[in-house]
Each structure stands twice: as structure tokens, then as C-alpha cells.
Amino acid sequence: MKFSISREALLRPLALVAGVVERRQTLPVLSNVLIQVQDTQVALTGTDLEVELIGRTAPTQVDEPGSATVPARKLMDICKSLPEQSEIQFVLEDGRAVLRSGRSRFTLSTLPVAEFPNIEDGQGSVELSLPRGTLKHLIDSTSFAMAQQDVRYYLNGMLLELRSNLVRTVSTDGHRLAVCSRPADIDVEPAQKLIVPRKGVLELSRLLDDSDEPVSLTLGSTHVRAHTGEFTFTSKLVDGKFPDYERVVPRNGDKVFIADRAELRQVLSRTSILSNEKYRGVRLHLEEGNLRVMANNPEQEEAEENVAIEYSGPALEIGFNVGYLIDVLGVLDEERVQMTLADPNSSALMEEPGGGDAMYVVMPMRL
């Protein structure tokens, strides 16, 4: 293998690929990045066995195609510290990788390519294409509600549901639920439901931008793969069944109020200071035109705030974990928020006024 490439062309994909590679690995080959050189293309692959990222870039010149694995972090640190716009020549000599640039020379150890656990192509059954912005919006609107290391392992991820003309993401940790769906120009029959693990969701969101450029998804029985022009991202799936989220969405709410989102968020953050640090409970008093938010802690300190809302109906008192409410208000991007309640023992539904593409369900707490 022998090729040369500019520092900038190598550094951008390398930084992203090396981000997937974890620092502490039980297996030496996993701290390496796989470099595959073809005639007009250099592909870099990094994996932590849960997610895999392939970054592609264009070399200046290819003298000899081939492949090798070299330590990811060391390669990145070398490239970073070389002067800008420098040209790097990469040669494989006697099982060692030699980097030359100007008057510098680095020799890196390699490991056999056959031992690198990259995922082979051609396992997908369904292929479709979405605008990147749509997928990013769906992920960012719901990812905060994913569970973390829950024994119900199927909650430690995000449900990605694809059916004809509709994409939907759902995540829940058992206390709150986030659902977001958008129409899309896709044709999937029968509908596909897969659970992408937490790490895969967060990595995928980092790779996407808000543009209308397409990202193509390949859905397999064991993997989901996302291609953009420069990157191919692959994640394993969670092997389980996601709970039936539609049954959780409350339908019997009759007390609907609308509040200013930013104001309500500030009010809640302030009162949360004096809530119980462990349970973070706050009490909401719903009255005509006014919402009173109260919190107290074991030291008998108290906070009370009033905020004007659009509401006319009977009074109601209900408790919530304030963290869950703040999370939801943080991801909604309308100016106002609508909250639907029924009684102190039923979950609340939060959404944009009149119902946007996202729905959030928060369970109340008994105070």
C-alpha cells in the first residue's frame, strides 16, 4: 500500500472515526483504524463492536492500493500536530506503516487486517432515503428520554419505526415517553420497527446536519446502516421488543392549558432549586389563568412562583419530577407549549399548541 494525501483531507474523517474508537480497549485491534486504499478513494474504519463508522476521503495520489490497520489515536495526534496544508505520504513496509511529511518520518505498528472486525456489506433487506434534517430532528426531539442501563434492556435505545410515508422515533425510560413522527417520501411494506442502542443514536445524531441532502438507510435484521456521501455509519440493534407506546399516551385529558415555553421553563428551573434533590418533586396548582408552582425540601425551605397561563376550567393540583418537565421544554421549539391533564393520578401530555409532530408523556408523582 502506498498513497499520499493532504493533511486536511485525512484529518476530518480521521477525527470522526477516531471518536468512535474507545480509549480503553480489551482487544488491541479495536484501538486501531482500518485504512483501505482503492484507486481514487481512501476509506477509514473505526469500531467499538457496537457502532462502526467508515469515513471516505480523496487521496492526492495512489501508487499502490491495499489495506492496513494502524493505531487510531496515534495517527490522529501525528496528523494534528503536522503543519497545516502539509502533504502526507503513507507507505506499508515490512508490516509497519511509515508516514513521511516534509522532513518528518513516523513508523507505526500495524495489526493484521483479517483480525479487524469490520462489518461486511450486503446484509440489508430494506433500503430507503430520508432528508438528513428530518432524521436529525426526529432523533434530537426524542433521544433525551432514552433509558440508561435499565434492566429492561429494550428501553436502552430508540425505536425507529418506518412505514409508508411516515417515520417515527420513540424513546422512554418508564417515567416519561417521547414520540416524534414526520411524513416522509418512503415506501416500506411491511412496516419496520427496530431499536437502535443508545450509543448508536447519539453517534448518528452527531454525524447528521440540518440540510435537505439525503441520508440513505439500510435496515437489516441485525444492523442499521446510514450512508451519507462521506460516511457510512453502522450500529448493532437491540434484540428485543419495544413496549406498546400507543397505550401509554393519555386520551382522557380535559384540562388543557397553554403557557409561554421559555417563561415556564425558567419558573420551573428556579423552583427546582428548592425541591428534594433526590426526587425533584414540584407541585403544580392549576387555576383560572394562573399556574402556581411550589417546591419544598427536607430542610423545610420553600419556593413558590406564579405564572400566567391560558386556562379556564376547574382547579387541579398535581406533582411532577421537575427534571422531566424541563427536559421536554428544552427540546420543544415553538414559543408556546400546551399541556393536557386529567387528574392527579394520570399522566400529562405535552406538545406544541394544537399538536405538533412531537408528543411527550410525563407521569405524575404523588407528593
Partner: protein, 331 residues
């Protein structure tokens, strides 16, 4: 690398292997296999061959040895293979590695094929670990294979046993393994003799006939001889310092069983150690069969204590053991 270097079953396991291959090819292999049988029969070899074939992308009669999966396996690590063994030899398998197994089973295979979990020895799981495994073991997702290896399956919790299909590997016919053993030992060794010493277990026979194990047997033989002549057992015990107590007990139990056979029937055909016959004849004169049985019970109890993770003082165990022997031999 070629197909010859891929793990293969041992010659006397051919019939079992064919059954496994047939089941696997027709998609009827159970998701959890409990391979039981003495170590000397080589259940590991059968398990390794099955694991390699399960993970291989293009399996033939064995794993192909050429595909990406086989290459990774040959390098000593495969992302879809999880091995669980006690952290240090003779100890228990604790709950933490089993929790890792549960996390491993909850996600799909990295290479898109099968996920394989090997627990060896399965009896080493403590109660908490075995209980933690039950849920995954009962209903794993598709294309998952658990392989549990157990020498004494009755030590496993019944709830674990009932979730696995049990395959017993019996002691092979001597004809089936003598050729293999003769090749393993070299030409000038008496394969038939060592197979008899090992009670018909070919791998054990190979180990006994070579290196330190053979030396130990010689030492014990001399020691037995000395005890029969009336040597002081505590002094003799010091000759065995540093040797594995399990191995010494194993020989002792084998010889006791021989003595009982000889004492009860008088026949010499079934003896496992025919070279010791002169010593046996002398010993049989000195004690009653009932006393041999009592000593056998003692040895087995000691062995059970060792296996269950006890950590006795080896010197004391040996001395107690030899004192009892010599008391019987002298009576």
C-alpha cells in the same frame, strides 16, 4: 491458514459430530447445549469445532478456515463469541461475567451471524450467577447458541439443566481411540496400557503417560510400595510436597477401587493398574473390604471439598490421607 488448522472433533466423536452438523444444517440445533462428560473424553474439542462452524460464513463439514470470521477466531478473538470461565482456576464464576453475557445477548450479533456463549465449566457458576443467567438462557433472541460444558452436570442447578438440551459424551470404545492415542504418545509407548490406567479416557491417558504426571505416578508407586513395607507415612508425605492434591487423590481413588475389585472378585481382568498387581495382592491380605470402602468415602469427601472451592492445607490433607492408608496396610 487452511481448513486443517480449524478446530475439529476428535476421532471417537465422529458420530456425535455428524448428528450436530445435521441438526445445525436443518436449523434444528437447540439454543442451549449442555455437553457433559469427563474432561478426558474431550468435550472441549467437540464444543470448539461446533463454535467455529457456527460462526463461520461458509461452513462445510467443518468451519471453512478462510472467511473473515474464521480469521478472527484463529487470531484468538471473535466479536460474537463470549467465553465465561472462573477468574482463577478452581474458583467460582461470579455474577458480573454473567451480567456481561446478558448485555451481550441483548444486542444483535456484530457480524450479523450467530452469537455464541461458552460457559466452562458450567458447574463453577455460583447460585447468584446461575440465577442471573436463567432469563437469557430460557429465551434468547434468534441465532443465539449457548454451549455449557460440565463434567458433573448434577452439580448444576436443576433450573439451568432443564433449560438446556443435554448431550452426554460417554467413554469411547477402546478401539475407537487407540490409534489416536498411539499416535499422540509415539510409537514405543503402550497405548492400551495407558488407556486402561486412565479408565478408558483417551485425553487423560495422553496426559498421564507424559511429563510430570508420569513422574508423579512413579513417585506414588514407590510410596505405596514403601507404605506396604511399613514406612512412616508422615515422612513419606513430605516427598509429595508441591504436588497437586487432586492428582494424588485421583490416583489413590483409582487404586482403592482396584483393591476393592480384587478383594471382592479375586479377578484381575478388570484392574485398571495391572502393573501394581503384586502390591495389591500384599495389601488385600491386610485389610477387609469394608475398610477399603471407608477409606474410599474419605477420599471422595476430600475431593468434593476441594472441588467446591475449599482451600485446605495440602500438607495436612496428604498426611491424613497417607496415615489412613498405612493404618489399613499394617492392620
Amino acid at each position: 491458514m487452511s481448513a486443517d488448522t480449524m478446530p475439529a472433533p476428535l476421532p471417537w466423536q465422529t458420530a456425535r459430530w455428524r448428528q450436530l452438523v445435521e441438526l445445525q444444517d436443518s436449523g434444528r440445533l437447540p439454543h442451549a447445549l449442555l455437553l457433559s462428560g469427563p474432561k478426558g473424553v474431550g468435550p472441549q474439542a467437540l464444543a470448539e469445532a461446533l463454535i467455529a462452524r457456527t460462526l463461520c460464513h461458509h461452513p462445510g463439514d467443518l468451519a471453512c478456515g478462510h472467511c473473515h470470521s474464521c480469521a478472527m477466531l484463529a487470531s484468538g478473538y471473535h466479536p460474537d463469541l463470549k467465553r465465561v470461565s472462573p477468574a482463577d482456576k478452581g474458583r467460582q464464576i461470579r455474577i458480573d461475567p454473567i451480567r456481561e453475557v446478558n448485555a451481550f445477548v441483548n444486542q444483535t450479533a456484530q457480524q450479523g451471524g450467530h452469537r455464541v456463549i461458552v460457559i466452562e465449566p458450567a458447574e463453577a457458576m455460583n447460585v447468584a450467577a446461575a440465577n442471573a443467567l436463567l432469563k437469557s438462557l430460557e429465551e434468547p433472541g434468534a441465532s443465539t447458541l449457548f454451549v455449557l460444558l460440565a463434567e458433573i452436570p448434577s452439580r448444576l442447578m436443576p433450573t439451568v439443566r432443564s433449560r438446556c438440551q443435554q448431550w452426554r459424551l460417554a467413554t469411547p470404545e477402546p478401539q475407537a481411540c487407540q490409534a489416536w492415542l498411539a499416535e499422540a504418545l509415539g510409537e514405543h509407548q503402550d497405548a492400551a496400557f495407558w488407556l486402561q490406567v486412565a479408565g478408558g479416557l483417551p485425553l487423560l491417558a495422553r496426559d498421564l503417560a507424559t511429563g510430570e504426571a508420569r513422574q508423579l505416578r512413579q513417585t506414588l508407586h514407590e510410596l505405596f510400595d514403601a507404605l506396604v513395607r511399613g514406612a512412616e507415612p508422615v515422612a513419606e508425605a513430605s516427598r509429595l510436597a508441591g504436588q497437586s492434591v487432586e492428582a494424588i487423590l485421583w490416583y489413590g481413588i483409582g487404586w482403592l477401587e482396584d483393591l476393592i475389585r480384587l478383594g471382592l472378585s479375586g479377578g484381575t481382568v478388570a484392574l485398571r493398574n495391572p502393573d501394581l498387581l503384586p502390591l495389591y495382592r500384599q495389601a488385600v491380605k491386610n485389610a477387609r473390604v469394608r475398610d477399603w470402602f471407608r477409606l474410599l468415602d474419605f477420599a471422595r469427601e476430600q475431593r468434593r471439598l476441594l472441588a467446591s472451592g475449599g482451600n485446605p492445607n495440602p500438607q495436612l490433607v496428604l498426611e491424613a490421607w497417607l496415615v489412613r492408608w498405612s493404618a489399613l496396610l499394617r492392620s
